[in-house]
Amino acid sequence: MRNTGPSRRFFRLGQRQPPLDEAVDWEIEHHLAEQVDRLVEAGWDPGEARAEAERLFGHLGRHRDRILRIDRSEAAMRRRTQGLEGALAVVRTSLRAIRRQPRFALGVVVTLALGIGVNSVMFGVVDRLLLRPPEHVVDHGDLRRLFVRRSFLGTVHTQSIVTYPDLQDLRTAPEFKSVGGYTPARERTLGGGPNATRVRVALASHDFFPTLGVSAHRGRFFAPEEDRIGVQGAVVLGFDFWQSAFGGDPGILGNEIDLSGFRLPVIGIAPPKFTGAELSAVDAWMPLEAGRYLEAGSDRFMHTYGSWWLRAVARLAPGSTEEAATARATALHLHGRADRIERGMYDPEARMIAGPLILARGPEASSESDVARWLAGVSFVVLLIACANVANLFLARGARRRREVAVRLSLGVSGRRLVGESVFEAALLALAGGMAAVVLALWVGPLIHATLIPDLYWSPGLDGRLLTFTALISVGAGLLAGFGPAIQATRINLVDDLRDGGRGSTGRKSRTRGALSALQASLSVVLLVGAGLFVRSVSEAHDVNLGIDPDRVALVTLELDSPDADAETRLRVYEEAAARAGAMPAVSHVALTDVPFQWALGQALGAEGWDSIPALPGGGPYYYHVTPEYAATLGLSVIRGRDFEHSDQEGAPVAIVNATMERVLWPVDGALGKCLYLGESNQCTTIVGVMEDASRGGIEEELHMAYLLPLSRTDPPEIMGLYVRTRGDAAEALSPMAQTLRSFSPDIRWADVSTIRELIEPQVRSWQLGATLFTAFGGLALIVAGIGLYSLLAFNVAERTREIGIRSALGARRGRIVREVIAEGARFAVIGITVGFGVALMAAPAITDLLFQVEPMDPPVLLAVTVALLLASLLASITPALRATRVDPAAVMRTDA
């Protein structure tokens, strides 16, 4: 080695590289400077030395360019290979990390699958209810549903039901391109005799389908001339019904089917999944005008502005606005009712509003859709808890891996690369979780639909929107859970972590993990409070006093073979049915009425001592024509006076009033012996009894007045229902009863038998939905949070092994150590309870409307949640606490450091 002196590097410059062209200039400049030195040493004149150096170098400009070209191609090459190799390396390392710790990976995937899965399920529900228009509807942005806002009996309410003349008026409005009317599906009987089945039939006007923009799968929808009174009519079958009832046979087109006694030709098949402008399944469509005429038996509905029975949808004309449409519709609505308004029979301020097509977005949103909205929010909270848990797992693993990370960092692996690996691993696990979530959603989704929202048409299978949503939230969850821990894992003090084997001070990380655990506990508390409130609502709704015993009373309604049978025939058939049912051993009482459960009729009425009868918030007075055992059948007790007897049916006019009616009209001396004046007559109908109040058909009802009249056999009203009281639970006796009633008489086309419980069930459904899913989500959240807490405590115990060992060696009692760990767990429970109750208190006003007779801060619920959380924290801390007691001091002392 010679001449090492001046050419040796004195010291290194920083890592940062200069731009390529600048670098080339520096290098050439350095060369020339050295050359000049050399030349001057050799005796050159310093002034000429520079020129000589450049000459020796060669063509300076050309050399510079060529060198630069080489460098540029090299830089480009390096970028390409580094990017690809880097990415591949990240993938390889991440996969290796997953393979190396399958249990960790499984924990992450399962936690995320649950969190993502509940979101997928709820997205499916909310998407169907609120986000998407009904299937096959074209350009739903231009479609509007028409609502009427009017004041009725002092309260303003908005309804989607309009009258037939309203529909006719709307058809003339230039603001609409087209208008269609329809009714929601109603059950009717297909065929007759023992093979009769029930199908859901909706009515729709001929212009309903073009308004939605839907065309038939086969055949066609109605022509205008088929939607007229006096023609035979026609029927379009729903796709699913066509498949199930006729095996998808196209030969059915042109054949006639028998729907509730009407023979109608099948002219078309609706496209698959088509549910009209609503979301419930429809088996068959009938023309609106013809169908209504057949149903009502008269054409009065065509002309009266007082018969509200159909819903209207309209497509805005190009260039028209919602405001213009609303103004026009309101003008038409009021114009048609000018004489009613003049006579004070109609609200002059009433408005007809062009509102949203999707019912759940409009003023008549069902409480199910409100609850679903809440549940979607709740499912997101579950996902947050799951993410917090996964973040916790990553943090814990990061802490265990400190030494490995420190080694890799010191070997020159960049921090960015380490973060990239962790994030990629998290994203990969999240995607796996997402896939598991889709499976979960496919499995649980239909279950929820079938049990909790059965009215919603549900087509099973995968759906692009659901998949996209799931993929998006999976990646989001992966990033959320993986990014923070990944960055924290690389923030390492190399010297400390290498020296003490990654067992160094972890205070800061434990604090982050502690905060995450506290967050999980708090969110779980919020969900559990929600769950408790809905469960209490369901139980309150279940126990609400209807007056009628809902589990022992059933209502039988008959569809007679001849659709326009007269009142005498109806009475005869119903009496035969009553005799049959009454003869069954399980049945104790039967009664007939013209106003069955959930119906209401009123008439002009005078009462002794009153000029006019005061109005109650629940409306009324309502009347019921009933046979003598009515009160006994429904389980209503006669408080004073007597029940009807058979002689009352044809004798002097008598009545029974309900308790509210007596209290309002004759609070002092009672109702017995007082006179009612029915209709416009002055004949006294004597009150012979007072009966306890009963529900008219809902579980949430205002007080109302009601009176019973004996059902006349010589001049009978239209009998509409037969009540049956069973000796035990009604449900068991019903199926054979329905069989008997459907087959014993050729006059009966169909007999529907339902317990009162079944009839009120739909009203309880939103609470049922809330209770079931809130409980499921809350329970899930608690389990996930509990596991998170367990892992945190176990980790902390492991971290403190040394300290615990030393303390045991110094004589600390085991009980004390156990208490410490359990207290640490309980601390999280207490934080969770405090924060969670606070959040619940803030959310309370928003949720009050969704509950049934339960306060948002219901003490039993709060108590139950507190107990649940403390128990969970105890469960989570028991194993770590026991592990702490098993620390062997001697073993601890022997390990390094």
């Binding site: 040796r8 410059l13 080489i70």
Partner: protein, 113 residues
């Protein structure tokens, strides 16, 4: 020796590899110097061409370069062999030795034209 030789094609790379293998990390001017001295000033390389070769060899992965400050206090770019450069040197050495042997055999063969 009366004349000065320019290097044969492919020679310059070999010389640079050999220089860096022998002398260790060097900047361009020092490499040039070293070649000149080591070959007793028989082989003279044009200054600019040396830098083409150096940068090509970096691109090929034979050399690594980074910046430093020389003992004269000047900012200079230093080159050193990579692992790939070392194995390239071995191959080049074999090739050159065979070449030189072959040429030498031919040159020393008795008998004229």
């Amino acid at each position: 020796m009366s004349s000065v030789l320019g290097p044969l094609p492919g020679t310059l790379e070999f010389l640079i590899l050999k220089t860096l293998a022998t002398a260790g990390e060097r900047h361009g001017f020092a490499i040039l110097d070293w070649i000149r001295e080591a070959t007793d000033e028989v082989l003279i390389v044009e200054d600019g061409a040396l830098y083409h070769a150096l940068h090509r060899m970096v691109r090929r992965g034979w050399l690594e370069a980074d910046w430093g400050v020389s003992e004269k206090g000047r900012r200079a770019r230093y080159y050193r062999l990579t692992v790939a450069g070392e194995s390239a040197l071995l191959e080049e050495e074999l090739r050159w030795n065979r070449y030189v042997e072959a040429v030498a055999k031919l040159a020393t063969r008795p008998g004229g034209r």
